[in-house]
Protein backbone atom coordinates (compact mmCIF):
# COMPACT_ATOMS: atom_id res chain seq x y z
CA UNK A 1 0.00 0.00 0.00
CA UNK A 2 2.85 2.36 0.88
CA UNK A 3 4.56 1.74 -2.47
CA UNK A 4 1.77 3.46 -4.41
CA UNK A 5 2.58 7.10 -3.63
CA UNK A 6 6.25 6.46 -4.33
CA UNK A 7 5.43 4.85 -7.65
CA UNK A 8 3.08 7.69 -8.54
CA UNK A 9 5.74 10.28 -7.70
CA UNK A 10 8.32 8.41 -9.76
CA UNK A 11 6.00 8.17 -12.75
CA UNK A 12 5.06 11.83 -12.45
CA UNK A 13 8.69 12.88 -12.36
CA UNK A 14 9.51 10.62 -15.30
CA UNK A 15 6.58 12.03 -17.27
CA UNK A 16 7.69 15.60 -16.52
CA UNK A 17 11.22 14.63 -17.51
CA UNK A 18 10.24 13.26 -20.89
CA UNK A 19 7.64 15.92 -21.57
CA UNK A 20 9.91 18.83 -20.61
CA UNK A 21 12.74 17.73 -22.86
CA UNK A 22 11.21 17.89 -26.32
CA UNK A 23 11.58 20.92 -28.54
CA UNK A 24 8.96 23.41 -27.47
CA UNK A 25 7.43 26.06 -29.75
CA UNK A 26 8.79 29.50 -28.98
CA UNK A 27 8.09 33.13 -29.61
CA UNK A 28 9.98 35.19 -32.16
CA UNK A 29 13.59 35.84 -31.16
CA UNK A 30 15.98 38.15 -32.95
CA UNK A 31 19.40 36.79 -33.84
CA UNK A 32 22.43 39.00 -33.25
CA UNK A 33 23.97 38.30 -36.65
CA UNK A 34 23.93 41.09 -39.21
CA UNK A 35 21.36 40.42 -41.92
CA UNK A 36 22.74 39.50 -45.37
CA UNK A 37 23.48 42.25 -47.81
CA UNK A 38 24.69 42.50 -51.42
CA UNK A 39 21.89 43.71 -53.64
CA UNK A 40 22.41 46.97 -55.47
CA UNK A 41 20.93 48.76 -58.45
CA UNK A 42 24.34 49.08 -60.07
CA UNK A 43 28.14 49.19 -59.85
CA UNK A 44 29.89 52.09 -58.13
CA UNK A 45 32.96 53.40 -59.99
CA UNK A 46 35.27 56.08 -58.63
CA UNK A 47 36.14 58.92 -61.09
CA UNK A 48 37.94 62.23 -60.61
CA UNK A 49 36.36 65.67 -60.82
CA UNK A 50 38.02 68.86 -62.02
CA UNK A 51 39.40 69.57 -58.55
CA UNK A 52 41.14 66.15 -58.43
CA UNK A 53 38.68 64.72 -55.91
CA UNK A 54 37.50 61.12 -56.06
CA UNK A 55 33.75 60.93 -56.80
CA UNK A 56 31.54 57.80 -56.73
CA UNK A 57 29.62 57.28 -59.94
CA UNK A 58 26.92 54.59 -60.03
CA UNK A 59 26.42 52.77 -63.31
CA UNK A 60 22.88 51.33 -63.73
CA UNK A 61 23.89 47.76 -64.47
CA UNK A 62 20.90 46.36 -62.53
CA UNK A 63 23.00 44.32 -60.14
CA UNK A 64 26.13 44.62 -58.03
CA UNK A 65 28.10 41.98 -59.89
CA UNK A 66 31.68 41.01 -59.08
CA UNK A 67 34.83 42.96 -58.35
CA UNK A 68 36.28 41.77 -61.67
CA UNK A 69 33.30 43.24 -63.54
CA UNK A 70 33.53 46.53 -61.63
CA UNK A 71 37.26 46.96 -62.41
CA UNK A 72 36.72 46.03 -66.08
CA UNK A 73 34.13 48.80 -66.28
CA UNK A 74 36.52 51.26 -64.63
CA UNK A 75 39.39 50.51 -67.01
CA UNK A 76 37.05 50.86 -69.99
CA UNK A 77 35.42 54.10 -68.86
CA UNK A 78 35.74 57.16 -71.04
CA UNK A 79 35.89 60.80 -69.92
CA UNK A 80 32.67 62.64 -69.30
CA UNK A 81 31.89 66.29 -68.73
CA UNK A 82 33.17 67.23 -65.21
CA UNK A 83 34.37 63.66 -64.49
CA UNK A 84 37.44 62.02 -65.92
CA UNK A 85 39.72 59.08 -65.27
CA UNK A 86 43.41 59.28 -64.58
CA UNK A 87 44.18 55.80 -65.87
CA UNK A 88 45.59 55.43 -69.36
CA UNK A 89 43.30 53.73 -71.89
CA UNK A 90 44.00 50.08 -72.43
CA UNK A 91 42.51 47.41 -74.60
CA UNK A 92 43.10 44.74 -71.93
CA UNK A 93 40.61 45.31 -69.08
CA UNK A 94 40.87 41.94 -67.44
CA UNK A 95 42.14 42.30 -63.80
CA UNK A 96 43.16 39.31 -61.73
CA UNK A 97 41.32 39.47 -58.40
CA UNK A 98 41.89 37.38 -55.27
CA UNK A 99 39.78 38.08 -52.21
CA UNK A 100 40.33 36.80 -48.69
CA UNK A 101 38.58 38.41 -45.70
CA UNK A 102 40.30 41.76 -45.05
CA UNK A 103 42.53 41.69 -48.14
CA UNK A 104 42.02 42.10 -51.90
CA UNK A 105 44.92 41.27 -54.15
CA UNK A 106 44.81 42.79 -57.65
CA UNK A 107 47.05 42.19 -60.65
CA UNK A 108 46.32 44.97 -63.18
CA UNK A 109 47.41 44.69 -66.82
CA UNK A 110 49.17 48.10 -66.59
CA UNK A 111 52.41 49.56 -65.35
CA UNK A 112 52.63 52.00 -62.47
CA UNK A 113 53.43 54.72 -64.97
CA UNK A 114 50.14 54.15 -66.80
CA UNK A 115 48.29 56.06 -64.06
CA UNK A 116 48.58 58.91 -61.56
CA UNK A 117 48.46 58.42 -57.78
CA UNK A 118 44.78 59.37 -57.95
CA UNK A 119 44.37 56.75 -60.68
CA UNK A 120 45.70 54.11 -58.23
CA UNK A 121 43.11 55.33 -55.66
CA UNK A 122 40.39 55.00 -58.33
CA UNK A 123 41.22 51.29 -58.67
CA UNK A 124 41.54 50.75 -54.88
CA UNK A 125 38.25 52.54 -54.05
CA UNK A 126 36.27 50.78 -56.78
CA UNK A 127 37.51 47.38 -55.59
CA UNK A 128 36.76 48.13 -51.92
CA UNK A 129 33.31 49.56 -52.77
CA UNK A 130 32.38 46.38 -54.62
CA UNK A 131 33.26 44.12 -51.63
CA UNK A 132 31.78 46.47 -48.99
CA UNK A 133 28.46 46.47 -50.85
CA UNK A 134 28.59 42.66 -50.85
CA UNK A 135 28.98 42.62 -47.06
CA UNK A 136 32.73 42.85 -46.42
CA UNK A 137 34.40 45.14 -43.89
CA UNK A 138 35.17 48.76 -44.78
CA UNK A 139 38.65 48.19 -43.33
CA UNK A 140 39.54 45.81 -46.16
CA UNK A 141 42.95 46.58 -47.68
CA UNK A 142 44.14 46.30 -51.26
CA UNK A 143 47.42 45.06 -52.63
CA UNK A 144 47.91 46.19 -56.28
CA UNK A 145 50.54 44.46 -58.37
CA UNK A 146 51.55 46.19 -61.63
CA UNK A 147 53.13 44.55 -64.64
CA UNK A 148 56.31 46.47 -63.75
CA UNK A 149 56.85 48.85 -60.85
CA UNK A 150 59.28 49.70 -58.04
CA UNK A 151 59.61 46.93 -55.44
CA UNK A 152 58.26 49.22 -52.68
CA UNK A 153 54.97 49.74 -54.53
CA UNK A 154 54.59 46.00 -55.13
CA UNK A 155 54.31 45.22 -51.43
CA UNK A 156 52.31 48.15 -50.09
CA UNK A 157 48.74 47.66 -48.68
CA UNK A 158 46.49 50.50 -49.72
CA UNK A 159 43.22 51.91 -48.38
CA UNK A 160 40.64 54.11 -50.05
CA UNK A 161 40.75 57.73 -48.82
CA UNK A 162 36.99 58.25 -49.30
CA UNK A 163 35.66 55.01 -47.81
CA UNK A 164 36.13 54.93 -44.06
Amino acid sequence: VRRLPVLAAALLVAALLVAGCGIQPSGVTEVGDAPPTGVAAGVTLYLVDDEHHLVPDQRETGQLGTTVEALALLLAVSDQPELHTEIRDTSVTRVFVQIVPGLITLRVPLTRSDMTATGVDQIVCTAIASVVQAGASRATKVNIQFTEAPAADQQSLRTCPVIK
Binding site: V13, A14, L17, C21, P35, P36, T37, Q63
Partner: protein, 471 residues
Protein backbone atom coordinates in the same frame (compact mmCIF):
# COMPACT_ATOMS: atom_id res chain seq x y z
CA UNK B 1 -3.49 -16.09 22.41
CA UNK B 2 -2.72 -12.46 21.64
CA UNK B 3 -3.16 -11.30 18.08
CA UNK B 4 0.16 -11.47 16.27
CA UNK B 5 1.17 -8.25 14.57
CA UNK B 6 2.18 -8.39 10.94
CA UNK B 7 5.88 -9.18 11.25
CA UNK B 8 8.45 -6.66 10.05
CA UNK B 9 6.97 -5.90 6.62
CA UNK B 10 5.59 -2.54 7.78
CA UNK B 11 8.89 -1.10 8.91
CA UNK B 12 10.82 -2.68 6.06
CA UNK B 13 8.40 -1.28 3.50
CA UNK B 14 8.58 2.16 5.06
CA UNK B 15 12.38 2.18 5.06
CA UNK B 16 12.41 0.96 1.48
CA UNK B 17 9.87 3.51 0.38
CA UNK B 18 11.80 6.36 1.99
CA UNK B 19 15.04 5.21 0.37
CA UNK B 20 13.35 4.83 -2.97
CA UNK B 21 11.67 8.20 -2.77
CA UNK B 22 14.91 10.02 -1.97
CA UNK B 23 16.78 8.20 -4.74
CA UNK B 24 14.09 8.74 -7.34
CA UNK B 25 13.80 12.43 -6.51
CA UNK B 26 17.56 12.97 -6.56
CA UNK B 27 18.14 11.00 -9.74
CA UNK B 28 15.14 12.48 -11.50
CA UNK B 29 16.11 16.01 -10.51
CA UNK B 30 19.67 15.59 -11.75
CA UNK B 31 18.61 13.85 -14.95
CA UNK B 32 15.93 16.44 -15.60
CA UNK B 33 18.18 19.45 -15.19
CA UNK B 34 21.02 17.96 -17.22
CA UNK B 35 18.64 16.83 -19.96
CA UNK B 36 17.15 20.32 -20.05
CA UNK B 37 20.49 22.05 -20.41
CA UNK B 38 21.56 19.49 -23.02
CA UNK B 39 18.34 20.15 -24.91
CA UNK B 40 18.78 23.90 -24.72
CA UNK B 41 22.33 23.80 -26.02
CA UNK B 42 21.49 21.30 -28.78
CA UNK B 43 18.59 23.45 -29.95
CA UNK B 44 20.63 26.64 -29.75
CA UNK B 45 23.48 25.09 -31.76
CA UNK B 46 21.10 23.76 -34.40
CA UNK B 47 19.36 27.13 -34.67
CA UNK B 48 22.64 28.99 -35.02
CA UNK B 49 23.90 26.62 -37.70
CA UNK B 50 20.70 26.69 -39.75
CA UNK B 51 20.44 30.48 -39.52
CA UNK B 52 24.06 30.97 -40.53
CA UNK B 53 23.59 28.63 -43.50
CA UNK B 54 20.64 30.66 -44.76
CA UNK B 55 22.37 34.04 -44.46
CA UNK B 56 25.52 32.71 -46.11
CA UNK B 57 23.50 31.28 -49.01
CA UNK B 58 21.60 34.54 -49.46
CA UNK B 59 24.69 36.70 -49.26
CA UNK B 60 26.54 34.53 -51.76
CA UNK B 61 23.85 35.01 -54.37
CA UNK B 62 22.88 38.63 -53.63
CA UNK B 63 25.45 40.41 -55.90
CA UNK B 64 24.01 38.50 -58.86
CA UNK B 65 20.40 39.40 -58.07
CA UNK B 66 18.90 42.17 -60.19
CA UNK B 67 17.66 45.14 -58.20
CA UNK B 68 14.83 46.08 -58.17
CA UNK B 69 14.12 42.34 -58.57
CA UNK B 70 11.67 40.76 -60.99
CA UNK B 71 9.89 37.41 -60.41
CA UNK B 72 12.75 35.52 -61.99
CA UNK B 73 15.26 37.11 -59.60
CA UNK B 74 13.13 36.14 -56.60
CA UNK B 75 12.75 32.57 -57.91
CA UNK B 76 16.52 32.20 -58.28
CA UNK B 77 17.08 33.53 -54.77
CA UNK B 78 14.44 31.16 -53.38
CA UNK B 79 15.99 28.20 -55.18
CA UNK B 80 19.38 29.08 -53.67
CA UNK B 81 17.93 29.03 -50.14
CA UNK B 82 16.66 25.48 -50.73
CA UNK B 83 13.38 23.68 -50.11
CA UNK B 84 10.85 25.26 -47.77
CA UNK B 85 11.58 28.89 -48.63
CA UNK B 86 9.62 32.06 -49.25
CA UNK B 87 11.04 35.24 -50.83
CA UNK B 88 9.03 38.45 -51.07
CA UNK B 89 9.60 41.92 -52.50
CA UNK B 90 6.73 44.35 -52.13
CA UNK B 91 3.89 42.64 -54.07
CA UNK B 92 6.09 39.98 -55.59
CA UNK B 93 6.34 36.62 -53.93
CA UNK B 94 8.15 33.40 -54.64
CA UNK B 95 7.08 30.46 -52.49
CA UNK B 96 8.04 26.83 -52.52
CA UNK B 97 5.27 24.40 -51.65
CA UNK B 98 4.46 23.09 -48.22
CA UNK B 99 6.98 24.67 -45.87
CA UNK B 100 6.38 28.28 -46.92
CA UNK B 101 2.85 28.14 -45.51
CA UNK B 102 4.24 27.78 -41.97
CA UNK B 103 5.80 31.25 -41.96
CA UNK B 104 3.96 33.17 -39.27
CA UNK B 105 2.89 36.78 -39.31
CA UNK B 106 4.89 37.30 -36.13
CA UNK B 107 8.16 36.45 -37.87
CA UNK B 108 7.26 38.59 -40.91
CA UNK B 109 6.43 41.53 -38.68
CA UNK B 110 9.73 41.17 -36.79
CA UNK B 111 11.73 41.05 -40.05
CA UNK B 112 9.85 43.94 -41.67
CA UNK B 113 9.74 46.37 -38.76
CA UNK B 114 12.99 45.61 -36.96
CA UNK B 115 15.16 44.83 -39.97
CA UNK B 116 16.87 41.98 -38.13
CA UNK B 117 17.29 38.24 -38.54
CA UNK B 118 14.45 36.59 -36.57
CA UNK B 119 13.74 32.94 -35.71
CA UNK B 120 10.75 31.14 -34.25
CA UNK B 121 10.09 27.48 -33.38
CA UNK B 122 6.67 26.12 -34.31
CA UNK B 123 5.08 22.68 -34.18
CA UNK B 124 3.32 21.37 -37.27
CA UNK B 125 2.29 17.86 -38.25
CA UNK B 126 3.81 16.52 -35.02
CA UNK B 127 7.27 17.81 -35.91
CA UNK B 128 9.15 20.82 -34.62
CA UNK B 129 10.11 23.38 -37.26
CA UNK B 130 12.41 26.37 -37.19
CA UNK B 131 11.30 29.50 -39.04
CA UNK B 132 14.17 31.79 -40.13
CA UNK B 133 13.41 35.19 -41.53
CA UNK B 134 15.85 37.84 -42.70
CA UNK B 135 15.72 41.05 -44.66
CA UNK B 136 18.21 41.49 -47.53
CA UNK B 137 20.10 44.76 -47.04
CA UNK B 138 21.63 47.34 -49.36
CA UNK B 139 24.98 48.59 -48.09
CA UNK B 140 26.17 51.79 -49.82
CA UNK B 141 29.98 52.21 -50.03
CA UNK B 142 29.66 55.02 -47.53
CA UNK B 143 26.74 55.01 -45.08
CA UNK B 144 24.60 52.63 -43.06
CA UNK B 145 22.92 49.53 -44.51
CA UNK B 146 19.21 49.90 -45.31
CA UNK B 147 16.57 47.28 -46.12
CA UNK B 148 16.23 46.51 -49.78
CA UNK B 149 12.63 45.37 -49.39
CA UNK B 150 13.56 41.80 -50.25
CA UNK B 151 12.72 39.38 -47.42
CA UNK B 152 13.84 35.78 -47.29
CA UNK B 153 12.11 33.15 -45.13
CA UNK B 154 13.29 29.59 -44.68
CA UNK B 155 11.51 26.71 -42.91
CA UNK B 156 13.81 24.02 -41.48
CA UNK B 157 12.84 20.67 -39.96
CA UNK B 158 14.13 20.12 -36.39
CA UNK B 159 13.13 16.41 -36.22
CA UNK B 160 16.74 15.28 -36.33
CA UNK B 161 17.55 17.46 -33.32
CA UNK B 162 14.44 16.18 -31.60
CA UNK B 163 15.59 12.57 -32.07
CA UNK B 164 19.04 13.43 -30.78
CA UNK B 165 17.43 14.94 -27.67
CA UNK B 166 15.28 11.87 -27.15
CA UNK B 167 18.38 9.70 -27.29
CA UNK B 168 19.97 11.82 -24.57
CA UNK B 169 16.80 11.67 -22.46
CA UNK B 170 16.41 7.91 -22.80
CA UNK B 171 19.99 7.27 -21.88
CA UNK B 172 19.33 9.46 -18.82
CA UNK B 173 16.23 7.43 -17.97
CA UNK B 174 18.16 4.17 -18.30
CA UNK B 175 20.90 5.46 -16.02
CA UNK B 176 18.31 6.65 -13.52
CA UNK B 177 16.64 3.22 -13.58
CA UNK B 178 19.95 1.52 -12.85
CA UNK B 179 20.63 3.94 -10.01
CA UNK B 180 17.21 3.22 -8.51
CA UNK B 181 17.84 -0.52 -8.79
CA UNK B 182 21.13 -0.17 -6.95
CA UNK B 183 19.41 1.98 -4.34
CA UNK B 184 16.77 -0.71 -3.81
CA UNK B 185 19.46 -3.35 -3.26
CA UNK B 186 21.35 -1.12 -0.84
CA UNK B 187 18.17 -0.24 1.05
CA UNK B 188 17.16 -3.90 1.34
CA UNK B 189 20.56 -4.69 2.87
CA UNK B 190 20.37 -1.66 5.18
CA UNK B 191 16.81 -2.47 6.25
CA UNK B 192 17.82 -6.07 7.04
CA UNK B 193 20.73 -4.92 9.16
CA UNK B 194 18.32 -2.82 11.21
CA UNK B 195 15.47 -5.30 11.30
CA UNK B 196 17.35 -8.50 12.12
CA UNK B 197 18.26 -7.40 15.68
CA UNK B 198 14.74 -6.03 16.07
CA UNK B 199 13.13 -9.32 15.17
CA UNK B 200 15.49 -11.11 17.57
CA UNK B 201 14.43 -8.72 20.31
CA UNK B 202 10.78 -9.32 19.43
CA UNK B 203 11.28 -13.09 19.83
CA UNK B 204 12.81 -12.59 23.26
CA UNK B 205 10.01 -10.22 24.31
CA UNK B 206 7.50 -12.85 23.21
CA UNK B 207 9.25 -15.53 25.31
CA UNK B 208 9.20 -13.15 28.27
CA UNK B 209 5.49 -12.46 27.75
CA UNK B 210 4.83 -16.21 27.60
CA UNK B 211 6.37 -16.53 31.09
CA UNK B 212 9.96 -17.47 30.31
CA UNK B 213 11.68 -15.13 32.76
CA UNK B 214 15.10 -16.40 31.65
CA UNK B 215 14.71 -14.85 28.16
CA UNK B 216 17.62 -12.46 27.38
CA UNK B 217 18.72 -10.74 24.17
CA UNK B 218 22.33 -10.75 22.93
CA UNK B 219 23.40 -7.14 22.33
CA UNK B 220 25.66 -6.90 19.26
CA UNK B 221 27.68 -3.86 18.22
CA UNK B 222 27.42 -0.47 19.89
CA UNK B 223 24.49 1.23 18.21
CA UNK B 224 21.03 2.23 19.42
CA UNK B 225 19.75 -1.30 18.78
CA UNK B 226 22.43 -2.82 21.00
CA UNK B 227 21.53 -0.28 23.67
CA UNK B 228 17.89 -1.28 23.29
CA UNK B 229 18.85 -4.92 23.80
CA UNK B 230 20.80 -4.02 26.96
CA UNK B 231 17.81 -2.06 28.29
CA UNK B 232 15.53 -4.98 27.47
CA UNK B 233 17.79 -7.31 29.45
CA UNK B 234 17.78 -4.94 32.43
CA UNK B 235 14.00 -4.83 32.31
CA UNK B 236 13.77 -8.63 32.10
CA UNK B 237 16.20 -9.02 35.02
CA UNK B 238 14.35 -6.62 37.30
CA UNK B 239 11.03 -8.21 36.31
CA UNK B 240 12.40 -11.64 37.14
CA UNK B 241 13.79 -10.41 40.49
CA UNK B 242 10.53 -8.80 41.61
CA UNK B 243 8.40 -11.73 40.49
CA UNK B 244 10.65 -14.16 42.35
CA UNK B 245 10.46 -12.00 45.48
CA UNK B 246 6.67 -11.80 45.26
CA UNK B 247 6.35 -15.52 44.79
CA UNK B 248 8.56 -16.19 47.78
CA UNK B 249 6.63 -13.74 49.95
CA UNK B 250 3.31 -15.30 48.93
CA UNK B 251 4.59 -18.79 49.67
CA UNK B 252 5.92 -17.63 53.02
CA UNK B 253 2.58 -16.03 53.94
CA UNK B 254 0.65 -19.17 53.00
CA UNK B 255 3.01 -21.43 54.86
CA UNK B 256 2.77 -19.15 57.89
CA UNK B 257 -1.06 -19.40 57.91
CA UNK B 258 -0.86 -23.18 57.54
CA UNK B 259 1.73 -23.40 60.34
CA UNK B 260 -0.33 -21.22 62.66
CA UNK B 261 -3.44 -23.33 62.07
CA UNK B 262 -1.49 -26.54 62.61
CA UNK B 263 0.20 -25.28 65.80
CA UNK B 264 -3.13 -24.11 67.22
CA UNK B 265 -4.80 -27.50 66.76
CA UNK B 266 -3.17 -29.31 69.70
CA UNK B 267 -3.76 -26.64 72.39
CA UNK B 268 -7.22 -26.13 70.96
CA UNK B 269 -8.21 -29.79 71.37
CA UNK B 270 -7.09 -29.57 75.02
CA UNK B 271 -9.11 -26.39 75.37
CA UNK B 272 -12.14 -28.14 73.83
CA UNK B 273 -11.89 -30.98 76.32
CA UNK B 274 -11.60 -28.55 79.26
CA UNK B 275 -14.56 -26.51 78.02
CA UNK B 276 -16.67 -29.68 77.68
CA UNK B 277 -15.90 -30.63 81.27
CA UNK B 278 -16.79 -27.12 82.32
CA UNK B 279 -20.09 -27.22 80.46
CA UNK B 280 -21.00 -30.54 82.13
CA UNK B 281 -20.46 -28.91 85.50
CA UNK B 282 -22.37 -25.79 84.53
CA UNK B 283 -25.61 -27.03 86.02
CA UNK B 284 -24.27 -26.56 89.57
CA UNK B 285 -23.06 -23.01 88.98
CA UNK B 286 -24.53 -19.65 89.74
CA UNK B 287 -26.58 -18.17 86.90
CA UNK B 288 -24.08 -15.45 85.87
CA UNK B 289 -21.14 -17.88 85.99
CA UNK B 290 -23.10 -20.39 83.90
CA UNK B 291 -23.70 -17.75 81.28
CA UNK B 292 -19.96 -17.04 81.02
CA UNK B 293 -19.22 -20.74 80.66
CA UNK B 294 -21.80 -21.07 77.86
CA UNK B 295 -20.21 -18.13 76.06
CA UNK B 296 -16.74 -19.70 76.40
CA UNK B 297 -18.05 -22.96 74.95
CA UNK B 298 -19.58 -21.22 71.93
CA UNK B 299 -16.46 -19.19 71.19
CA UNK B 300 -14.18 -22.20 71.49
CA UNK B 301 -16.40 -24.13 69.04
CA UNK B 302 -16.23 -21.21 66.62
CA UNK B 303 -12.44 -21.08 67.02
CA UNK B 304 -12.22 -24.78 66.18
CA UNK B 305 -14.30 -24.29 63.02
CA UNK B 306 -12.17 -21.31 61.98
CA UNK B 307 -8.97 -23.32 62.40
CA UNK B 308 -10.43 -26.18 60.35
CA UNK B 309 -11.46 -23.79 57.59
CA UNK B 310 -8.00 -22.19 57.62
CA UNK B 311 -6.40 -25.60 57.20
CA UNK B 312 -8.73 -26.39 54.34
CA UNK B 313 -7.77 -23.12 52.61
CA UNK B 314 -4.08 -23.89 53.18
CA UNK B 315 -4.51 -27.23 51.42
CA UNK B 316 -6.04 -25.47 48.41
CA UNK B 317 -3.22 -22.89 48.38
CA UNK B 318 -0.57 -25.55 48.65
CA UNK B 319 -2.21 -27.44 45.77
CA UNK B 320 -2.50 -30.59 47.88
CA UNK B 321 -6.30 -30.76 47.68
CA UNK B 322 -7.33 -33.95 45.87
CA UNK B 323 -10.58 -35.02 44.25
CA UNK B 324 -11.89 -38.43 45.31
CA UNK B 325 -14.50 -39.13 42.68
CA UNK B 326 -17.19 -41.74 43.32
CA UNK B 327 -20.71 -42.46 42.05
CA UNK B 328 -23.01 -40.28 44.11
CA UNK B 329 -26.79 -39.96 44.15
CA UNK B 330 -26.64 -36.17 44.21
CA UNK B 331 -30.11 -35.41 45.52
CA UNK B 332 -29.73 -37.95 48.34
CA UNK B 333 -26.31 -36.57 49.24
CA UNK B 334 -27.73 -33.03 49.48
CA UNK B 335 -30.62 -34.24 51.65
CA UNK B 336 -28.19 -36.09 53.90
CA UNK B 337 -26.19 -32.92 54.29
CA UNK B 338 -29.30 -30.92 55.31
CA UNK B 339 -30.41 -33.61 57.79
CA UNK B 340 -26.97 -33.92 59.35
CA UNK B 341 -26.96 -30.20 60.17
CA UNK B 342 -30.53 -30.11 61.39
CA UNK B 343 -31.74 -27.83 58.57
CA UNK B 344 -34.27 -30.27 57.08
CA UNK B 345 -37.18 -28.34 58.58
CA UNK B 346 -35.88 -24.90 57.53
CA UNK B 347 -35.35 -25.77 53.89
CA UNK B 348 -37.72 -26.42 50.96
CA UNK B 349 -35.96 -29.17 49.06
CA UNK B 350 -36.88 -29.99 45.45
CA UNK B 351 -35.07 -32.16 42.91
CA UNK B 352 -35.43 -33.11 39.24
CA UNK B 353 -33.57 -35.98 37.64
CA UNK B 354 -31.89 -38.51 39.85
CA UNK B 355 -29.12 -40.14 37.90
CA UNK B 356 -25.95 -40.79 39.82
CA UNK B 357 -23.01 -38.44 39.23
CA UNK B 358 -19.28 -38.76 39.50
CA UNK B 359 -18.43 -36.38 42.37
CA UNK B 360 -16.34 -36.03 45.50
CA UNK B 361 -19.04 -36.65 48.05
CA UNK B 362 -17.26 -34.93 50.94
CA UNK B 363 -16.59 -31.80 48.92
CA UNK B 364 -20.18 -31.64 47.64
CA UNK B 365 -21.23 -31.78 51.30
CA UNK B 366 -18.87 -28.89 52.17
CA UNK B 367 -20.19 -26.75 49.28
CA UNK B 368 -23.89 -27.34 50.08
CA UNK B 369 -23.34 -26.83 53.81
CA UNK B 370 -21.60 -23.51 53.22
CA UNK B 371 -24.18 -22.21 50.71
CA UNK B 372 -27.17 -23.24 52.84
CA UNK B 373 -25.49 -22.09 56.08
CA UNK B 374 -24.88 -18.73 54.46
CA UNK B 375 -28.54 -18.49 53.37
CA UNK B 376 -29.81 -19.49 56.84
CA UNK B 377 -27.53 -16.98 58.59
CA UNK B 378 -27.93 -13.94 56.29
CA UNK B 379 -31.21 -14.50 54.45
CA UNK B 380 -34.75 -15.08 55.71
CA UNK B 381 -36.71 -18.32 55.46
CA UNK B 382 -37.98 -19.99 53.47
CA UNK B 383 -34.61 -21.15 52.10
CA UNK B 384 -35.01 -23.12 48.88
CA UNK B 385 -32.63 -25.79 47.60
CA UNK B 386 -33.21 -27.13 44.10
CA UNK B 387 -31.09 -29.96 42.66
CA UNK B 388 -31.11 -30.66 38.93
CA UNK B 389 -29.05 -33.54 37.54
CA UNK B 390 -28.53 -34.01 33.80
CA UNK B 391 -26.03 -36.25 32.03
CA UNK B 392 -23.89 -33.16 31.31
CA UNK B 393 -23.95 -31.37 34.65
CA UNK B 394 -25.13 -31.08 38.22
CA UNK B 395 -26.88 -27.84 39.15
CA UNK B 396 -27.69 -26.87 42.74
CA UNK B 397 -29.51 -23.60 43.37
CA UNK B 398 -29.80 -22.16 46.88
CA UNK B 399 -32.26 -19.28 47.34
CA UNK B 400 -33.58 -17.28 50.25
CA UNK B 401 -36.16 -14.56 50.86
CA UNK B 402 -33.83 -12.14 52.62
CA UNK B 403 -32.86 -8.61 51.54
CA UNK B 404 -30.42 -10.03 48.98
CA UNK B 405 -26.77 -9.11 48.57
CA UNK B 406 -26.00 -5.39 48.00
CA UNK B 407 -24.80 -4.78 44.40
CA UNK B 408 -21.62 -3.24 45.80
CA UNK B 409 -20.78 -6.45 47.66
CA UNK B 410 -21.79 -8.95 44.94
CA UNK B 411 -18.38 -9.05 43.16
CA UNK B 412 -16.60 -9.71 46.51
CA UNK B 413 -18.76 -12.34 48.21
CA UNK B 414 -16.31 -15.12 47.41
CA UNK B 415 -13.26 -13.27 48.80
CA UNK B 416 -11.70 -14.47 52.04
CA UNK B 417 -12.83 -12.70 55.20
CA UNK B 418 -14.85 -10.18 53.19
CA UNK B 419 -17.36 -8.45 55.50
CA UNK B 420 -20.31 -6.57 54.09
CA UNK B 421 -20.51 -4.31 57.14
CA UNK B 422 -17.11 -3.66 58.76
CA UNK B 423 -18.83 -2.85 62.10
CA UNK B 424 -20.60 -6.21 62.29
CA UNK B 425 -17.62 -8.46 62.84
CA UNK B 426 -19.19 -10.98 65.18
CA UNK B 427 -21.05 -13.25 62.81
CA UNK B 428 -21.14 -16.96 63.54
CA UNK B 429 -19.35 -17.84 60.22
CA UNK B 430 -15.60 -17.96 59.84
CA UNK B 431 -15.60 -15.62 56.81
CA UNK B 432 -14.04 -18.37 54.71
CA UNK B 433 -17.11 -20.49 53.89
CA UNK B 434 -18.05 -19.13 50.44
CA UNK B 435 -14.38 -18.96 49.45
CA UNK B 436 -13.94 -22.64 50.40
CA UNK B 437 -17.15 -23.56 48.54
CA UNK B 438 -15.90 -21.85 45.38
CA UNK B 439 -12.46 -23.53 45.66
CA UNK B 440 -14.17 -26.93 45.91
CA UNK B 441 -16.40 -26.19 42.91
CA UNK B 442 -13.38 -25.10 40.84
CA UNK B 443 -11.59 -28.31 41.85
CA UNK B 444 -14.45 -30.15 40.14
CA UNK B 445 -14.00 -27.89 37.08
CA UNK B 446 -17.24 -26.13 37.99
CA UNK B 447 -18.26 -22.73 39.30
CA UNK B 448 -20.55 -20.87 41.71
CA UNK B 449 -22.32 -17.67 40.75
CA UNK B 450 -24.04 -15.25 43.13
CA UNK B 451 -26.96 -13.05 42.05
CA UNK B 452 -30.08 -11.32 43.35
CA UNK B 453 -33.47 -12.66 42.32
CA UNK B 454 -35.86 -10.27 40.61
CA UNK B 455 -38.43 -10.80 43.38
CA UNK B 456 -35.93 -10.19 46.22
CA UNK B 457 -33.54 -12.48 48.03
CA UNK B 458 -30.21 -13.93 46.99
CA UNK B 459 -29.55 -16.87 44.69
CA UNK B 460 -26.34 -18.94 44.66
CA UNK B 461 -26.02 -21.41 41.79
CA UNK B 462 -23.50 -24.25 41.81
CA UNK B 463 -22.70 -25.91 38.49
CA UNK B 464 -20.50 -29.01 38.28
CA UNK B 465 -19.77 -30.50 34.86
CA UNK B 466 -20.00 -34.26 34.30
CA UNK B 467 -18.04 -36.62 32.14
CA UNK B 468 -14.54 -35.56 33.11
CA UNK B 469 -12.20 -37.26 35.54
CA UNK B 470 -10.42 -34.99 37.98
CA UNK B 471 -8.98 -31.59 37.26
Amino acid sequence: VTRRLRPRTGLRLRLLAAFLLVTVLAVAGTAWSSARSATASLVAAAQQQLTDAVTVQVEALAPNVRYPPDQDALDRLRAAVGPGALVTYRNLRSADGAGAGLVTDAVRAAVRTRGRVAVQRVAAGGNPWLLIGTPLMITPPAGAPRPSGIEVYAVRDLSAVQMQIQKVVWSGVRTAGLAVLVAVLVSVVAASSVLRPLSGLRDHARRLAAGDLEARAEPRGADELAYLAVTFNQMAASLQASITTMQRMETDAKRFAADVAHELRTPLSTLTAVVEVLSLAAGDMEADVRESVQLAVTEVQRLVRLIEDLMEVSRFDAGTAELRLEDVDTSRAVQDCLHARGWADLVDFTASGSATSRLDRRRLDVIVANLVGNAVRHGRPPVGVHVEVTPESVRVEVTDDGPGVPERVLPHVFERFYKNDPARTRTPGSGLGLSIALANARLHGGDITAANRPGGGASFVLRLPQGREGS
